[in-house]
Amino acid sequence: MSEFDILHQRAKCFYDSFERKAELQHQTHYCPGCGHGIAHKLIAQAIDELGIQDRTILVSPVGCSVFAYYYFDVGNVQVAHGRAPAVATAMKRALPHGVVLSYQGDGDLAAIGTAEILHAANRGEPITVFFLNNAIYGMTGGQMAPTTPLGEKTTTTPFGRNPWTEGYPLHVSEVLSSLEAPVYIERVALGNNKMIQQAAKAVRKAIANQVQGLGFSLVEILSPCPTIWKMEPADAQKWVREELTKVYPLGVFRDKTKEAQPRPAPVPAPSLDELPKIFSAKEGRPPALAPAAPCRRTVDLRVKVAGFGGQGVLMLGQVLAEAGLDAGLEVSWLPSYGPEMRSGTSHCHVRLSNHEIDSPLVSRPNVLMAMNEPSLRKFLPAVEPGGWIFYNGTSLPEGAMRTDVTFIVQPFIALADRIGDTRAGNMVMLGAMLEATGLLESEWVASALARLSKSERWLDLNRRAIEFGREVIHREVSI
């Protein structure tokens, strides 16, 4: 054909062969007459024409088009169901020069991913989204989609979609065009030659917008699904043209391409060196004190610290565990708490041992540090005979008694008020515990405190609280 020039052929940004399967290396996995193939070709052609193949990143969704990365010779990421706009946002911010295309079906974008697309559009992320709407769940075998027209029978609406129970078809382009930020939103269809030509223009424009640095662009493409619709490809194309476009009118819903200003470049992320300053961290870490007298005795401390959130339960456990590190012991610290930041129950398991710790769980504590009555009642039966129980209270509550353990009962939190801050009640209790058990050296605890206290003021307060706790123990009267 030397007298002919090539007008249209396989786009350069498709791979030469598709390596998904050993056979069929030149065919897509799509069914005969599927709209995905056409949409792929329109996108590929636009990428070729704009000359952006080497900086395009395609985000493949979940759905029939999950394998788009087998076809496009561009950067590819395949993401969790519906999350493509979120991932595309991250990639566009990390690589502002990249051209990030999110390709999603209606199950992905309009059902599970509604939040992601809505907020990406509302932030005006400068990405390009292709939304293939075939009004059905294709890959999973024909369940109703949010975009299914009223009255359509699907496997999950066998009597036809009923608005009273399944709601109305979701008009994504209309919804998104109610937002302030998007630059370009158009709905096109793959219903005949003319519509496909219009779709090609829209696809190209949506990508070109991003190349120019403009904001969010989305093209909704009404697409045939002959297999699930149980139609011949020609009939499916006709159904798109004549029926689907009645439910989803074609047209431009938003076009600020002319007046939109290129978005300012994203502020680059701070370098690692800047992070300590941003978080007001002190330069370096305070050096751990070399243990003056490394722990030679046998230690098998199994501590359960329990109380309300906000009482410093977790901090108490951390100081213990860190002190164990300074002693050269094996340690573990396992927090357990509810979602509340204040007043929920909170406890932690701390283990210090000469030997390797097989499990960080403490189900049989030899030290229980109970900051309130419910914690005492809950964990009292679990304490090993011969163990220690430290209880924050003036006396043991009724019925919470055992004769085979040692109780230390003091209003530790109230006592902390005497040194100026009830918030140091946890450290008063820790001081009492250290003094009573005599297991850990003061230096180890001091070094741990220096690392964990959030400011000089707190370090001073915690030190004083621990000393105070040590004194309290000698005034203690065993019950």
Partner: protein, 90 residues
């Protein structure tokens, strides 16, 4: 149908092994120069075939086809070449 005095403006090449026989190119062609073959390709589809002449190179079948490489469309070179009439006649 083309004649020697007015050679075709375009041509189309269909890769029978990439065609899935959906027939969308056949209905996209206003000139009716595409049809589906009576025989099957090796994957069991009736691939589209070009009548061999009559294409004007509009490219609509390319856009209608869902497969990336099943159809290529050619357009006659803008400047007529000296060898052209002989080739067409042949």
């Amino acid at each position: 149908m083309s004649d020697i005095a007015r050679p075709d403006k375009g041509s189309v090449a269909i890769n029978a092994d990439e065609c899935k026989g959906c027939g969308l190119c056949v209905i996209s062609c206003a000139l009716g120069v595409l049809r589906q073959s009576d025989s099957l390709n090796r994957f069991g589809y009736h691939p589209a075939v070009y009548a061999g002449h009559g294409c004007n190179g509009c490219g609509l079948c390319f856009y209608a086809c869902p497969e990336p490489g099943a159809i290529a469309v050619y357009k006659r070179a803008a400047a007529p070449r000296a060898t052209q009439p002989e080739l067409v006649a042949a």
